[in-house]
Symmetry: C2
Subunit: 219 residues, 2 copies
Amino acid sequence: MSTPSAPTPRTRVVREPQRAMYDRNVINRILDEGFICHVGFAVDGQPFVIPTSYGRHQDVLYIHGSAASRMLRNLGDGIPMCVTVTLLDGLVLARSIFNHSMNYRSVVVLGTGTAIDDREEKLNALRLLSEHIIPGRWNEARPPSEKELKATTIIRLPIQEFSAKVRQGPVIDDEEDYAFPVWAGVLPLNVVISEPIADSRLADGIGVPDYVKRYLRSK
Amino acid sequence: MSTPSAPTPRTRVVREPQRAMYDRNVINRILDEGFICHVGFAVDGQPFVIPTSYGRHQDVLYIHGSAASRMLRNLGDGIPMCVTVTLLDGLVLARSIFNHSMNYRSVVVLGTGTAIDDREEKLNALRLLSEHIIPGRWNEARPPSEKELKATTIIRLPIQEFSAKVRQGPVIDDEEDYAFPVWAGVLPLNVVISEPIADSRLADGIGVPDYVKRYLRSK
């Protein structure tokens, strides 16, 4: 079921508004394909942007703590933030320099994050994060200890105020440029894995698991 | 020549400080391999993070205008901003969930951006941006007209206050976990291009240029 959402003045896309989307299904598909977000927050008017991993459950984003220490140290537990996820799909080579573009899908979520204190919610969020990045891993690896849980920071951000921006498809040139004698087209970009590198201390007889062999970010 | 730079309190890496680097050569290599940055700026205390393309010339970053309209509309030409570039190199699958990590290289540049007004500087910056993303294209495509130049916004950000954070290499597990019977290792991630898609209106006899066939982000 699609749940369209009206943009707020803060999430309304200003530039290239025809690329804007405010539909939860669109947003969720982008969030579920990516696994690195860029978290923005401001300290004394200075913005910071930090990459980190995330997971999604329904209308909540869970953001891993590597981004969190400066945030939390400065801001406590009520943090105006922006989480942006960008998937790059291709370079668009137009006949004119001006009409060069990229195919991409990006999501911006604005809101106020809070650090998770509750042990069960934190454990669930960690599992979500892990399964989001590499499904199947959580059930095989050694689970978090109580001490490790305490040392982990996860931020909870409701997905309430959001927008997506998507550019797909072919070159769009000005009509008079189609005669210009230069190659034009799209150069698709993909994130792929290469051969897994087994740890040098791996015990004999432990093969590469299927969820590693088959690892793929769906497109 | 290496030009190490001391971190400021704002760029000193707080979490996992052993991964921090403040060397201009390291920063430049990361900036030159990537071509998408995430630009952070705040409006009324609300941070925004927008993906866009960039180029570098010596100690200056040039940031393409698609990020700029909301910034400029709100902030005029003296903009505290943060530009972050992240290259993802692999998933690190430790034996414990807690020690799972990613191999990555990221750069954070803080500073005040200004929109370029000067026609020559803007044209040079556009060429830099274009050649940064796809070397060879600038000399083949139809150059920007005066009207297009005026419609393009480029932000200039001196690379003065910066840090890099890098995680590379194998799994690091707690000593007591090495006996845990699970596969561990690194899953390398790469951005690759697939077969170029020629534009449907491409004139006969125009082949795929070498700079497209050979396109590769160096690692």
